[in-house]
């Protein structure tokens, strides 16, 4: 019988994704995932959050700052 419960599972999600668990602990999580749709969904949602964060578009520098920096770069070699 698998003794890991969902409350423990959710606290180990990051360690699991980082492959930071020892093999035995990792196996418990894998076994729990096979049995528990709720935790499978939770894990997927964490993964999706990470992917969405990765896709966040970056802010741009203010135009004047950008222009000033290009100017400073050109001045360097003069």
């Amino acid at each position: 019988m698998n003794d890991l419960d969902c409350r423990e599972f959710v606290e180990q999600v990051t360690a699991f994704l980082e492959h930071a668990l020892d093999p035995e602990a990792e196996q418990r999580l894998v076994d729990h995932l096979a049995l528990c749709d709720g935790c499978e969904r939770y894990l997927d949602q964490v993964r999706r959050s990470v992917t969405d964060l990765r896709d966040l578009p970056a802010d741009a520098l203010p135009d004047e700052t950008r222009a000033a920096l290009l100017e400073a770069f050109r001045a360097r070699t003069e």
Binding site: D5, V10, C36, Y42, S49, A60, T65, L69, T77
Partner: protein, 209 residues
């Protein structure tokens, strides 16, 4: 997105004063630098100044770059040092050494209590999220994510920004912030759980509209 040339080519061109190459890295990296700076200082304006100061230091220091780390990591280090100094001046000290973040990351009331036939298991599974094709506006989700990042405690925000937004590996982040792997993981875990929770809240609200 066009690949940047390898570091040795990049550095040689920059040292030669090739301003197209400088514009390329400036545009490619400034967004990440801004986000990172924002984790240390209190305003957008302040963050922009930190980024500007960083690029000036990069321009001045180019000839001293030794290639022991990647160019980008070197630039990021200059930024964190600049931002930390600025943050200190603004009295926003970011203590990186101790983990005081404790307690569960998911509301305990989501799980069945002791005495239940299935203690510790979900009462209800986390609600399903719509697939991106189901019309949830991409920029809406992105706004939620930005807000969630903004609400995080500083150390968590730093770690999740570097790891998940910027895509740095855990070792790089530990080195950059001078924290242990275990500490880094705890901060990342709490931050991710928070962000997931905020998205859940958002999707649930949208579904009930």
């Amino acid at each position: 997105m066009e690949e940047l040339p390898p570091d040795d080519v990049l550095v040689a061109r920059l040292r030669d004063g090739d301003d197209k190459t400088f514009a390329l890295v400036l545009d490619r990296w400034s967004g990440g630098l801004l986000r990172l700076a924002r984790s240390f200082v209190s305003t957008e304006a302040s963050a922009a100044e930190v980024v500007q100061e960083t690029w000036v230091a990069v321009i001045e220091g180019l000839d001293r770059f030794e290639g022991r780390s990647s160019l980008k990591t070197w630039v990021y280090r200059i930024l964190t040092n600049t931002a930390k100094r600025r943050g200190l001046r603004e009295h926003r000290v970011v203590p990186m050494s101790s983990v005081d973040d404790s307690g569960p990351t998911v509301d305990p009331s989501r799980f069945r209590p002791a005495g239940d036939p299935f203690p510790g298991h979900w009462w209800d599974f986390p609600p399903l999220w719509p697939t991106p094709e189901q019309g949830m506006l991409r920029h809406e989700v992105q706004a939620q994510l930005r807000t969630a990042l903004g609400e995080l405690p500083e150390r968590q925000r730093l770690v999740i920004t570097l790891r998940d937004v910027e895509g740095y590996g855990s070792e790089e982040v530990c080195a950059l912030l001078d924290i242990t792997a275990a500490n880094q993981r705890v901060l990342l875990h709490r931050a991710r759980a928070f962000v997931r929770g905020k998205l859940e809240e958002y999707y649930t609200q949208e579904a009930n509209r």
